[in-house]
């Protein structure tokens, strides 16, 4: 759903790092992991995943390596030590944030004044 893709702004880095938590993936597999992991809600234009991956690599959070698959070059990415540390921090922040929002949204109404 492309509309929800807009809501990803600001969270894309965290989600991309999360898709790599279990091991190396290439660009298309990362996009599919995002889509499947969100039950289809985060279906980004595939091509726009790659620049974000390049930026994360330049920041030292992931590292890429080339291999040959079906006669074409394929680049796969994996988390670096800094990337794992960042993901862990982002997860903790996210849990604290969602807990705070949930407690506000699901707050029981104040009892009526007698």
């Amino acid at each position: 759903m492309r509309g929800d893709a807009q809501a990803l702004k600001g969270h894309l880095d965290m989600l991309l790092l999360a898709t790599l938590a279990d091991g190396p993936l290439h660009g298309y597999a990362i996009k599919e992991a995002l889509r499947e992991g969100s039950a289809g809600r985060f279906d980004l234009p595939t091509g726009t995943i790659y620049p974000a991956l390049h930026r994360l690599e330049a920041d030292g959070l992931i590292e890429g390596s080339w291999s040959m698959v079906y006669g074409r070059r394929r680049r796969s990415y994996q988390l670096t030590v800094d990337g794992r540390r960042r993901l862990s921090g982002e997860r903790a922040n996210w849990r604290a944030f969602t807990a705070a929002v949930t407690s506000l949204l699901e707050r029981r109404p104040w009892p009526a004044t007698p």
């Binding site: 290439h26 660009g27 298309y28 996009k31 234009p45 595939t46 091509g47 726009t48 995943i49 790659y50 620049p51 974000a52 390049h54 930026r55 330049a58 698959v69 079906y70 006669g71 074409r72 070059r73 394929r74 680049r75």
Partner: protein, 193 residues
């Protein structure tokens, strides 16, 4: 390797955006992988190619995204944001040191102002340009070299022209040294992009 005229045309358009070769190789792999997946889903070759290209996004979207995430774009944005702070530090120094009384003050002011405007111009191009990766890279490199030259010139001015030590020297010199360190750190990634 599976391919289709639509896929080939799309990849040719991507190459026309002058993205780095490694990026085009990676995009080509992703696009062909998407196409193969749609074929495996049971679509005929033409529908699979159309679907893959649609899923991938337009060439403009991709080119713009690469530009937005380009190291040169980010370095230019940082330099433009921090530039006024560095400028203010030096302004305090120049005013407190009564720079207008120094030898050749008019010529130095003219050269520095021209250099500053050119540097800002190139950095703005790198920051605002969308969709032309090569231009973003070139403009950011020129802008960054300009910023280093300006900082070096200001530091040299302290050594040569500043008649007495005034405390804002520390402010300006620290700001310039920090900026030189930042630009030198950003340079390899821009050159490699």
């Amino acid at each position: 390797m599976a391919s289709h005229a639509l896929i080939d045309a799309y990849l040719a358009a991507l190459r026309g955006c002058r993205l780095p070769t490694v990026a085009v190789d990676e995009l080509a792999d992703g696009l062909i992988e998407t196409y193969d997946q749609r074929l495996r889903d049971g679509l005929d070759p033409h529908s699979a190619a159309k679907e893959a290209v649609t899923e991938f996004g337009t060439v403009d979207e991709i080119s713009e995204a690469f530009g937005r995430h380009a190291p040169g774009h980010r370095a230019a944005a940082t330099l433009l944001t921090t530039g006024p702070i560095v400028g203010c530090c030096w302004l305090v120094f120049l005013i407190s040191g009564r720079a207008w009384t120094w030898p050749n003050a008019d010529t130095a002011a003219l050269i520095l102002t021209a250099g500053l405007l050119l540097t800002i111009g190139f950095l703005e191009v790198a920051r605002l340009r969308r969709g032309n990766y090569a231009q973003i890279k070139a403009a950011s490199l020129i802008g960054i070299i300009g910023a280093i030259a300006l900082d070096t010139a200001m530091l040299a001015m302290i050594a040569v022209a500043a008649p007495t030590f005034v405390w804002p020297i520390v402010l300006g010199a620290s700001a310039s040294l920090a900026r030189i360190a930042f630009t030198l750190r950003a340079l390899p990634a821009i050159l490699a992009s």
